[in-house]
């Protein structure tokens, strides 16, 4: 029997958060984690987190578990990876299974904190069990933890935050997202996440659903259909999409089965994603021996899971007499979590929790007073500035912290929109690299006559090079003009800044670019002579066919100018504006096509 003060089940953000609090209060803490690696879902979150700068905002999820581990007091802490908790028995003994050694072990703990996370939901459609149909979290694990791509052409089902973020990550990993299917008329996830993938040209099929998947051994395609407000399929709108992977991002449900074995009170809460253990604001369940935190206590996001874990840790410590000032310590965490849940995605969770706590709910809390943060750019402003395209109440403030000139204000209420003071903005573009939503762009109207510089936060490969010609795309990913790469600024945090220039008239709309094809325009195929070489010669004054022929040897190859003569004459006309019809185009001489010399010798001898 392993004896411990506190047993934590689950080594994700909530479990690690709880361990910080219990170990720092001197409680002997054991943490069991089913997977061989710690961090739960953090280990695959390659994007920067929203939230307050003081709580990891702007940090990529993959770095957060190490930060949490640093805060845990090691002398009171032991971890068992590859161990899953499989049962809580009537006498309070917890059974754990060591998958490596195939051994069942018993644990006796004074308090148990359950931070077991969530399971992925699935939806019914024909052949929904076909290999190649994966949960969004599964896809993330495969590509971001093990470095294996799930497929080449992905169809995403669901435009919530997970669907949008995983789509973006799939593109970063080199896959092609053929579309996102969403039953609702709008994305459930944040606008900035939607904007990121929209400008890369990913089609989003709103008011659509998947009807069937097809394929022999694995996915080869899907059939989707438009639905009306009552979810009825609209005939004639069926569409077949070719894909080798279907990724389901249709929600998560709390995974707290192990707690149900203890007979604690459970409740069904649609706002929290399903069956959750009844718990108070400090994460204690209906039993003083069991605490719950993170997604197991209602689906939320990782930052609030860390905070819930900390609350559960404090609560468990208080119940063991190791925290006398609990009420005071709770406050900071409770206040922050309330703020995190003020945004339009968090409010659902807040409502679910309020119902659980029998706290009065005011529906006015569900609507937000939005400040207008659009700014008018004075005519004649030539100094570079930033365009903040963040119009939604996201609990987030790294832009404010990153500005050295105090030009951006979010304020104490982190769901408020960022306001830009144009007079203070120097156009330094620091904020572009920090915004987790990649929603800030740099504008420089003074870059070159008639051209505007647009600086784009960029997290894709390959990075372009200065001087490259690329295609400027608008917010829907549609190519609208040609653009030139003016600067490439690499950043340590891997959000690089690419400045492209476009003609002024496109400046308002270009927010992305596609690399142009590298290569040349060939004019003379026989001798590999390019349009650039001919234009260069024309610029040097060789504006006559006979001159070009002697200078570049065009038309002197085996084809005798059949392929290029006309093209070259057109280029001369375009350059000089002269009527070239009377110009010499060379003098054809025999032989008309290449012959072996031996053909001319007597009797064909060498």
């Amino acid at each position: 029997m392993i004896r411990t003060d506190v047993l934590i089940i689950g080594g994700g953000p909530a479990g690690l958060g709880a361990a910080i609090e219990t170990t720092n209060r001197g409680l002997k803490t054991l943490l069991v984690e089913e997977n061989p690696i710690y961090g739960g879902q953090l280990i695959k979150q390659t994007h920067k987190f929203f939230g307050s700068h003081s709580h990891f905002a702007g940090t990529r999820g993959i770095y957060i578990q190490d930060e949490l581990l640093k805060e845990i007091k090691k002398e009171h802490f032991s971890m068992l990876p590859g161990h899953s908790a499989v049962g809580i028995y009537d006498d309070g003994v917890i059974g754990i299974y060591d998958s490596e050694k195939n051994r069942f072990k018993k644990v006796s703990a004074k308090k148990v904190i359950v931070a077991t996370g969530a399971s992925e939901k699935t939806i019914p459609f024909k052949n929904n069990d076909l290999p190649g149909i994966y949960g969004a979290g599964g896809v993330q694990t495969l590509m971001n933890v093990y470095g294996v791509l799930p497929g080449k052409k992905i169809l995403m089902i669901g435009a919530g935050n997970i669907g949008l973020i995983v789509s973006y990550q799939l593109i970063q990993a080199g896959a092609d997202v053929v579309g996102i299917v969403e039953a609702l008329p709008k994305a459930g996830g944040y606008d900035v996440h939607l904007a990121k993938i929209r400008r890369m040209g990913v089609p989003v099929f709103f008011k659509h659903t998947i009807v069937e998947a097809f394929g022999q051994d694995s996915v080869e395609g899907a059939l989707i259909v438009q639905i009306d407000n009552r979810w009825k399929h609209l005939n004639g709108t069926q569409m077949q999409l070719e894909c080798d992977t279907i990724c389901l991002a249709v929600g998560l449900t709390p995974s707290s089965e192990i707690l149900m074995q203890t007979g604690i009170k459970m409740t069904f809460s649609p706002s929290l994603g399903g069956y959750v253990p009844v718990h108070n604001e400090f994460m204690q369940t209906s039993s003083t021996d069991y605490f719950v935190a993170g997604d197991a206590a209602g689906i939320g996001e990782a930052t609030s899971a860390i905070i819930e874990g900390r609350l559960a840790g404090i609560s468990a410590s208080a119940s063991l007499g190791k925290e006398k000032n609990a009420e005071k310590v709770y406050k900071e965490h409770v206040d922050y979590i309330e703020k995190l849940r003020d945004g339009n995605t968090g409010i659902k969770v807040k409502k679910g929790k309020y119902e659980l706590w029998n706290k009065p709910w005011d529906t006015s809390m569900e609507t937000f007073e939005k400040k207008d943060n659009t700014i008018k750019i004075p005519k004649g402003r030539t100094k570079a500035y930033v365009s903040i395209e963040c119009y939604e109440d996201i609990p987030c403030n790294p832009c404010e912290i990153s500005c050295h000139f105090k030009a951006i204000t979010v304020g104490p209420n982190i769901t408020d929109l960022p306001m830009l003071d144009l007079d203070k903005c120097t156009g330094c573009m620091s904020c572009l690299t920090q915004c987790p939503g990649l929603a800030i762009f740099g504008i420089n109207k003074d870059l070159a006559p008639g051209r505007t510089g647009i600086t784009i936060p960029y997290e894709l490969l390959p990075l372009p090079e200065k001087g490259d010609t690329v295609w400027g795309a608008d917010r829907d990913g549609k190519i609208i003009c040609s653009a030139r790469v003016e600067a490439v600024r690499k950043n340590k945090n891997k959000t690089h800044l690419i400045t492209i220039s476009v003609e002024n008239e496109y400046a308002e709309n270009v927010r992305h670019f596609y690399p142009g094809a590298s290569g040349d325009v060939l004019i003379c195929r026989c001798l590999d002579i390019t349009a650039d070489e001919i234009n260069d010669a024309l610029d040097r004054g060789y504006t006559d066919f006979e001159e070009l022929k002697r200078y570049l040897r065009v038309t002197t190859g085996p084809c005798q100018g059949r392929g290029c003569r006309q093209l070259i004459m057109n280029m001369i006309r375009a350059k000089t504006g002269e009527d070239v019809s009377s110009h010499s185009t060379g003098t054809p001489r025999p032989p008309e096509s290449a012959l072996p010399f031996s053909a001319f010798t007597k009797g064909g001898k060498k």
Binding site: E34, N35, P36, T46, R60, I62, S84, S99, G117, S119, E120, D129, L130, P131, G132, I133, Y134, G135, G137, G138, V139, Q140, T141, L142, M143, N144, Y146, G147, V148, L149, P150, K152, Q172, A173, G174, D217, S218, S255, E459, L460, L461, K494
Partner: protein, 100 residues
């Protein structure tokens, strides 16, 4: 398919390790789970159910039971959370699995 280059992540170069799939020798990398190594080899069907439905992996975190296979003669191993070891014998599982 391994991701060769990633804009955010640095995948450390790993050692290739041999293992067997239905008797055929193939390769994975150190740090792989059985499921990730099979997927990299283009193998997507991990078991065939009693009703002849083909199943691959799904959740990758050991919750859904979709990826259970026969590993070194033992059926019903969750391959998405089981580390790949040199020389392992992995078999596509038939039905509920057997020790035979």
């Amino acid at each position: 398919m391994r991701i060769a280059k990633h804009p955010i992540l640095d995948f450390k170069k790993q050692k290739r390790i041999p293992f067997y799939y239905n008797g055929e020798k193939i390769f994975g990398m150190t740090g792989d789970t059985i499921a990730s190594a099979l997927h990299d080899n283009g193998i997507m069907v991990y078991r065939v159910t009693d009703k002849s439905r083909k199943r691959g992996f799904f959740c990758a975190i050991g919750k859904c039971s979709s990826c259970m296979m026969k590993v070194d003669g033992i059926p019903n191993i969750k391959t998405c959370v089981t580390e790949l070891k040199t020389g392992m014998h992995i078999e596509c599982q038939k039905g509920k699995g057997s020790y035979k």
